[in-house]
């Protein structure tokens, strides 16, 4: 697995630490990212910890038809959010590999995570 040593910088980094359905954190974090992009900012996303589960294929609605977030992921490209990163340790811990995911995101290790955070003017964690 290759880790980028110098991840791209940008205006806004949104860190997504929560899994789909259990809470609204993931959805609200994605909304913040979409709005930042719509306002013309260069936005990066980091799926960290349980947040990597946002990328799992085959998600569906929750009870009562509760909307998930996988449709929102499909909108990222439309908003020019193409700088996607994921927590390689968390993904491995959960037993997934990168090629099983709905979207392509670059795996990052600890050093690259710190560089990502340093490389963006505004960092929001959800």
């Amino acid at each position: 697995m290759q880790y980028p040593t110098v991840p791209p910088a940008g205006d806004v980094l949104v860190i997504l630490r929560h899994s789909p359905h259990g809470s609204s954190w993931l959805r609200e974090g994605l909304d913040a990212a979409l709005v930042a992009a719509a306002f013309g900012q260069a936005v990066s996303l980091l799926f960290q910890s349980e947040g990597v589960l946002a990328l799992v294929k085959g998600q569906g609605p929750g009870p009562l038809g509760q909307k998930g977030t996988s449709a929102t992921l499909d909108m990222l490209a439309m908003y020019d959010i193409e700088s996607l990163f994921l927590d390689a340790v968390a993904l491995a811990r959960l037993g997934f590999s990168s090629d099983e995911l709905q979207l392509t995101a670059r795996p990052v290790d600890q050093a690259a995570t710190a560089e990502l955070i340093a490389g963006h003017r505004l960092v929001l964690t959800f």
Partner: protein, 96 residues
Amino acid sequence: MILHILNRSPGSSLVYREALAGMGPEDRLLLIEDGVQGALTSQARHFESLGGRLFALREDLASRGLEGRCDASVQVVDVDGFVVLTEEADKTVSWF
């Protein structure tokens, strides 16, 4: 028999330790919501002391795309099965 219900993942919250501490030898544990992450093959080791007394809610696995990745030690039940588990238990205790 008491039904314990856990809605947090062992990958982010340590409450599963207290849930396990509170369980008697006949008690059952049902994983729901974010707790179903504990049913993944990669995570189920946290609950290996439970033998056949570990359950996970099918609908919460399915909505997360995790249904096919459950450990063999986990009994997957749907919400009707959840109700049956509460019928069979003397009471329920929720851990969050």
